[in-house]
Symmetry: C2
């Protein structure tokens, strides 16, 4: 027996396609939901929805599993079946966190959750507390960074599907590692998004870099918000995930009195209080607005932390001044910028930004440093280079050691990008697998065009070529050799120092003393 | 001598057209401004700007006077010339305010500022403290409500131009009356808006009911915000206006860390502190978001008050349940709604709105009642009826007396709509004068179409017909007769009671006791 349910407020009739049958649903109710209880179907059975007189079977927008990919039938999946071993797990404390961003497809040779499990002892020994997974929600095709997810309640099958993710989380918890998952609620991927058949998930009143914005405050938005908030709660509750990293929250257009992020943080807190677990909410924000991480009681949105791009840009532009084509670096470059990032979190806290051609940000005064995540590189900065060069490839090992030292010894929450701890020689390239032939062509040529202005035309690896993906996999054989081993022991020592020194964990920007000299370009 | 200046960041060259000459400007500077100092020109001289190789002379976006209308030449105007008599004026206190909304074109027979001055003794004797003018910024054509302004630094010539407005303000102050001006910063009128020739005042990333949204947070937005904030400051500083009513603030799309409204309130406060005057900022907000009126120190936007549409709708639907075609009334209708509006300001403070098809609002707990403006009708509610019927025309004199009683005896800030105090028999219709023939036709037919569904097809007065405007003028000969005189003395008595009773002015929602019975439809 299974109770089917789907939100389709505009449909005149809805059916479940199941086996050879087609079963009319009841509805819609006042909220726009259709329901049907079907006997003789269970876990593992496949189904789809039929809308009005359209005979095309569409996957369930809330499908928990897409075994044949995002275009295919949905599969009934029961979250209660998996045998967990983490009953005592409560989550690692946020304030002492050392994060490690990793991409399942390229972290291990296998490119799967099970492949990644083999390296968890290594992460624990390195001193990591939180593993941050790039998105794993199902997208069209095989390889990809994950930001083109379309069936966001299903786990990518190429990684090992739902049970694979659960095995990974369980294995992390067994080693004392928390798991943070990157989730994308500001758009759907360009291929395989069928949600618009079902309801007003998007609005054409607002445009984002990905096209129509997600409908967060217009007619029907309660259910759209429920869709995303329920998704957040699912990962935390049913997959035992310990926190979420919300992609590009500056692309949320929400004028309603309760902002979407506030709703997320309050419902997540409620779940944590119920389950007795500590959840960690992280925003990628380009707004330099302290409201994102201010507590809800103080009229903020209640995110725990946000990525500190200002710190990254200030640090990177000091170490490397030859980066072509990333206009946002033009706003940075002085030792004073790094000084300010370390003392005040936001470099841009109200002054004019040449890149944005407007004033940007406001001061973050009064907030603890724990609200900001520091890194000297991440998947975006590395992967958005034509050749996917890591920081060390550009600046050399000595400067890379200094960079990670500044990240690990400041009172902000540090984050490593997989492989940087052993100065991995492999690149992290932009790769995708857009199935759709038109889209593949557009993406490949767009990538070439993007970099052609900087003389890279011939060399830019084709994102849609599987070799580009394979080339981005870490080479674990490097870890024990020469400069790689030296870098690893340096990083391990720094993390150990951090995790055993009270003053490196107090989260006070006030007590941090930074002394810089812009002429001599020094920082103490 | 005059220093010309204009913001035109995309122009390759700019000239001032002056007399028979064409004078090249210098620029643009880093902010996108062009400048030119010309001798031999002074107050009263006319000019225009020429952009690039376009030989069309465009009026100055910041023109202080458009003597030949919004399409014509701009005129140099010197704010320091007018002889003021209000040196001791500091502004009437906000918390004891009794507002009176009026439309210059229809308030007096003459339809001018000078015509209105003749009725100011009457308003003083009525007990009014603040006169709220519907917009007076220059728009295309003669008659109109004023919400189609395009040359927003110039005062509508048909009303009497800049000096006319100054005479009016001076005359108000001489009688102890403050003046609030309705300003429209969320769009430009559809005819005569040349700002887009000069710079990115609008963005196509967001749509509002009027089309492209004002650019408040994208490239170039600093100067767009300056344009509007400088406009606000001009009225307060150069015209001695005492406050502003910001039209439809829910149409501002601004994701920047310092919201446009916060910038307005902080710069207005600064000006008030400098001049030693008390300014009153009022927002028309459809957001039911207490952030609008919360102090900036408590992370709000710092508006003093906002219009309380919920109260109006709750009251009106109890008194009249036959209103066709205004879907927002469907969300109201019980005595409980009125009870809630009186006790908690927002009726919708988080629950589902059938009209909006989403949840709406959040509680206004902890805010003083002075943050909310109550009325039983306003220009919008009256004028948006097919026949411009006032409340009394629909519900009769007894119910109208009760309605204004509830408005005037609750601890919120009361506002009357011109003529309601004497139960004026004249309507307040929707009228316009869109010059452009296409637009006239579109507006007239749109209006007919809007009401045709409710059986009004033939009767709807044509908005573009000057008779529609003339018919909306108050008939002052009524004031002393019969029910008109009775209503007037009733309203006068209520205002006198309010202004002499401490408990009616304490702004406390907590101490207000409301007792209602939804079955018997009573309220005490």
């Amino acid at each position: 027996m299974h109770r089917f349910g789907v939100w389709a407020p505009r449909a005149q009739k809805m059916s479940v396609k199941f086996g050879d049958g087609k079963f009319a649903m009841e509805g819609p109710n006042a909220r726009g939901w259709w329901k049907l209880e079907l006997k003789d179907c269970d876990c593992g059975d496949r189904y789809a929805f039929l809308l009005d007189d359209d005979e095309t079977p569409y996957p369930d927008p809330r499908s928990l599993r897409q075994p044949e990919g995002v275009h295919g039938l949905s599969e009934l999946y029961d979250h209660s079946v998996f045998a967990w071993h983490d009953q005592l797990w409560r989550g690692a404390p946020k304030t002492g966190a050392v994060l490690y961003e990793l991409h399942i497809g390229t972290f291990s040779k296998e490119g799967t959750f099970d492949g990644a499990i083999q390296h968890l002892d290594y992460l624990r020994d390195l001193g990591i507390t939180h593993v941050e997974l790039m998105p794993v929600a199902a997208w069209a095709g095989n390889q990809g960074w994950g930001y083109d997810g379309v069936s966001i309640f299903a786990t990518h099958e190429a990684y090992g599907g739902p049970d694979g993710l659960k095995r990974f989380v369980d294995a992390c918890h067994a080693r004392g590692l928390s798991v943070i998952l990157d989730v994308v609620y500001n758009h759907f991927g360009p291929v395989g998004n069928y949600t618009n058949k079902f309801g007003p998930y998007l609005t054409d009143h607002h445009k984002t870099p990905w096209g129509n914005a997600v409908n967060l405050d217009e007619a029907g938005s309660d259910e759209v918000r429920r869709f995303f908030v329920d998704n957040a709660l699912m990962w935390l509750r049913d997959y035992h995930i310990d926190g979420l990293r919300l992609d590009a929250v500056h692309a949320f257009i929400d004028l309603s009195a309760v902002h979407f992020l506030e709703q997320v943080s309050s419902e997540v807190e409620r779940l944590g209080a119920t389950l007795g677990r500590e959840f960690y909410l992280i925003a990628e924000s380009d707004l330099n607005d302290p409201r994102i991480v201010r507590p809800r009681e103080a009229q903020g949105y209640g995110m725990d932390s946000q990525w500190s791009d200002d710190f990254h840009h200030a640090l990177f532009t000091l170490l490397y001044d030859k980066e072509p084509g990333r206009a946002y670096y033009s706003d940075f470059g002085s030792v004073g910028d790094l000084h300010k990032a370390l003392k005040h979190a936001f470099v841009y806290d109200g002054q004019y930004s040449q890149y944005r051609r407007r004033k940007h940000g406001r001061p973050a005064e009064g907030l603890a440093a724990h609200h900001f995540i520091h890194f000297d590189q991440n998947h975006d900065q590395v992967g958005n280079r034509a050749l996917g060069e890591r920081l060390e490839h550009l600046v050399g090992i000595d400067a890379a050691r200094v960079a990670i030292g500044i990240v690990l010894l400041a009172p902000y929450v540090p984050m490593l990008f997989m492989g940087e701890e052993f100065a991995a020689s492999t690149p992290f390239l932009y790769f995708a697998d857009h199935e759709d032939e038109e889209m593949r062509k557009a993406v490949s040529e767009g990538r070439k065009r993007e970099f052609s202005a900087f003389g890279f035309w011939d060399e830019v690896p084709n994102p849609e070529d599987v070799k580009t993906f394979e080339d981005s996999k870490l080479d674990w054989s490097e870890v024990e050799d020469g400069k790689h081993a030296e870098m690893l022991s340096w990083v391990k020592a720094l993390i150990k120092l951090r995790r055993s020194t009270v003053s490196l964990n107090d989260g006070s920007m006030q007590r941090l003393r930074v002394s810089t000299d812009d002429v001599r370009r020094t920082l103490v």
